[in-house]
């Protein structure tokens, strides 16, 4: 009893701390970049814009261009990083639980290769280019590819009886191979150097496409997903015990497994369509959080989501400043930061997929 209420206190304190760190990081995130803007002025602009002009005065700024840079370019981008991190960490955590496999990540149902095929198709065959229409076309095709792949994986693992985790993972791998083959075929046949560069860049993930117009959709999906999954913490916990034990505790997993996979796939599909393939976040963040707080979803899921968000904001910041003239694809950064973090938890905490 005491132990459990202490756990709860720690949990709320961690949430508070993470929220504070995320707000601070957002502030830092909007100051860094090609044009350096003082932290105090960044916060001044954000406070003014967020309050609808009630707080602060924009006339005291040292440059008029600052408002545009921060409000039109950097702030949407930092918000996209936050939402992407939240969504990927949440989808990864849910996928790991749903397929009862610690190796699962948001892309396990073939979503990555499906989205890549969609994107490759768009870039190489008809929608390549820089106009806004072409960009929307790319997101659309990537989302379509992702959802098609996830749907086919679910269908395939349903053949010959109930869906189980091994069938899901295997179906995901098989369709991954198939879709990757299609993508490679298109790339090989098209023989278009500029297109190949675009595809490669897309596959490494980028938040550069952030704008106010794409945020509402992603925000709605991520927040709806979050609200849905926090109500499911008990069933998610039971899911970890396996099918037979779950039935004896009154839960038929077959239905919930499909439901969660569909929700997580839509979530991942939307994110991938807008930010490309950002690897490692969905795999590693849940493990790191589980290594610290254990597998109880009441704590684990929410903390994963907050940590994913913080992690992504910092990956984005570093991707913009680590090289002086060019921006690094964010997928490279997430692995560069994530891997050592994971190794630390693995070695220091003696983590064995639990806590």
């Amino acid at each position: 009893m005491n132990r459990i209420s202490r756990q709860r206190q720690l949990f709320y304190m961690s949430i508070l701390l993470l929220t504070f760190l995320i707000i601070l990081s957002v502030g830092i995130g909007v100051t860094v970049g090609q044009v350096s803007i003082p932290l105090s002025e960044s916060f001044q602009i954000l406070a003014n814009k967020l309050s609808g002009g009630l707080i602060g005065d924009l006339d005291t700024l040292s440059s008029n261009a600052y408002t545009n840079i921060i409000w039109q370019i950097r702030f949407p981008r930092v918000l996209l990083a936050m939402l992407t991190g939240m969504g990927l960490a949440m989808a990864g955590a849910v996928m790991q639980t749903t397929v009862q496999n610690p190796l699962a990540d948001p892309y396990i149902l073939g979503i990555s290769s499906g989205a890549s095929l969609g994107a490759t198709f768009a870039i190489m065959i008809g929608f390549g280019g820089t106009s806004i229409l072409a960009q929307m076309g790319l997101s659309f095709w990537a989302f379509l590819g992702a959802i098609t792949a996830a749907f086919l994986v679910l269908l395939l693992s349903n053949v010959g009886g109930q869906v189980n985790s091994i069938k899901l993972v295997l179906s995901g791998m098989v369709l991954n191979a198939l879709f990757t083959a299609f993508s490679n075929f298109i790339i090989y046949i098209a023989n278009d150097a500029e297109g190949i560069r675009s595809v490669t860049f897309w596959m490494m993930g980028s938040l550069a496409g952030a704008s106010w117009s794409i945020l509402p959709l992603i925000a709605t999906v991520v927040i709806a997903g979050f609200l849905f999954f926090v109500t499911q913490e008990r069933i998610l916990n039971i899911m970890l015990l396996g099918d037979e034990a779950a039935i004896t505790l009154g839960v038929n997993l077959a239905f919930y497994r499909k439901l969660y996979l569909v929700v997580a796939s839509i979530l991942t599909g939307i994110i991938v369509a807008n930010s490309g393939m950002i690897g490692f976040v969905g795999l590693i963040i849940p493990h790191i959080v589980r290594g610290i707080v254990g597998s109880n979803h009441r704590y684990f899921l929410t903390l994963s989501i907050f940590s994913g968000s913080l992690f992504m904001v910092w990956s984005d910041i570093l991707s913009r400043i680590i090289l002086p003239t060019v921006e690094l694809p964010i997928g490279i950064l997430t692995s560069l930061i994530g891997a050592p973090l994971f190794i630390y938890i693995f070695v220091k905490k003696g983590y064995e997929f639990g806590g």
């Binding site: 009893m1 132990r3 459990i4 790991q96 639980t97 009862q100 496999n101 610690p102 109500t231 008990r234 916990n237 039971i238 970890l240 015990l241 396996g242 099918d243 037979e244 034990a245 039935i247 004896t248 505790l249 009154g250 839960v251 038929n252 589980r290 254990g294 597998s295 109880n296 064995e352 997929f353 639990g354 806590g355």
Partner: protein, 252 residues
């Protein structure tokens, strides 16, 4: 709570595992199921717990058809300790026990003081005090088995299904678990391997071979040299143990 199984047949992957089995467990009776490996004991128990769906026949719990109860309703009445409890992700023992409250909880309902109280009581009853704050994955097979039985007791069932509950257990805990279960004022259906424990703790026995029941009755009636020869193809002598005054079996 009583259980009736009438003319039950079950197949797995279109192979008939049990055929036309009927059995009955009375209010507060401890009924044992014995038989060689692969005779269909687990299949029968899984059908009773609604993990497997029967081809034919009916299972009723206090007159209610088990197939028509929702999983949750059934879990409030029936607790199950299965044979395999493989878990890939870790929980503390206390969290594991708390999950036993799930059938009694609504979707958003949190564990409350009463749930913690029930868990604490089971921890005492099952001698789990030393394990309570350890991680489940770090436990030995026997310790895990005890925690799972504990979780089942936290469910507060009126009927208990046990599939070889003394597997992996040392002698102390074999005896203490069977004594605990025996003392509970609930009905029990258990598959047992140890025939001497079966004579000591059960009220009634069913002997199964190749998916059918070949003998039923009190332990004294069922555990004869002839029946054991037919079941397990081994020779034995049955004698009255002078210390406890009950039948014992010595294999030759």
């Amino acid at each position: 709570m009583n259980l009736s199984v009438d003319n039950l047949s079950v197949s797995i992957a279109s192979k008939k595992i049990i055929e036309d089995i009927s059995l009955h467990v009375d209010q507060n009776q401890f009924v044992g199921l014995i038989g060689p490996n692969g005779c269909g004991k687990s299949t029968l128990l899984k059908s009773v717990s609604k993990i497997l769906e029967p081809d034919a026949g009916m299972i009723t719990l206090n007159g209610n058809n088990v197939q028509q109860l929702s999983n949750k309703e059934l879990a409030k009445k029936l607790g199950v300790v299965g044979q395999f409890n493989k878990v890939n992700f870790d929980f503390s023992v206390r969290q594991m026990l708390l999950l036993g409250r799930s059938p009694h909880k609504g979707l958003m309902e949190r564990d409350n003081a009463k749930d913690y109280e029930i868990v604490d009581k089971v921890i005492k009853q099952m001698d789990l005090g030393k394990l309570a704050d350890r991680s489940f994955l770090s436990l030995s097979g026997g310790e895990k088995q005890r925690v799972i039985l504990g979780r089942t007791l936290v469910q507060q069932p009126q009927f208990l299904v046990l599939d070889e509950p003394t597997n992996h257990l040392d002698i102390k805990h074999q005896l203490s678990i069977l004594k605990t279960v025996h003392a509970l004022p609930i009905s029990v259906l258990a598959a047992l391997h140890d025939l001497n424990l079966a004579t000591r703790f059960t009220d009634y026995l069913y002997a199964m071979k190749d998916g059918v029941i070949i003998k039923q009755g009190t332990p004294d009636e069922v555990l004869t040299e002839a029946v054991i020869r037919e079941l397990y193809e081994v020779e034995c002598r049955v004698y009255t143990n002078p210390i406890l005054g009950i039948k014992n079996i010595e294999f030759l």
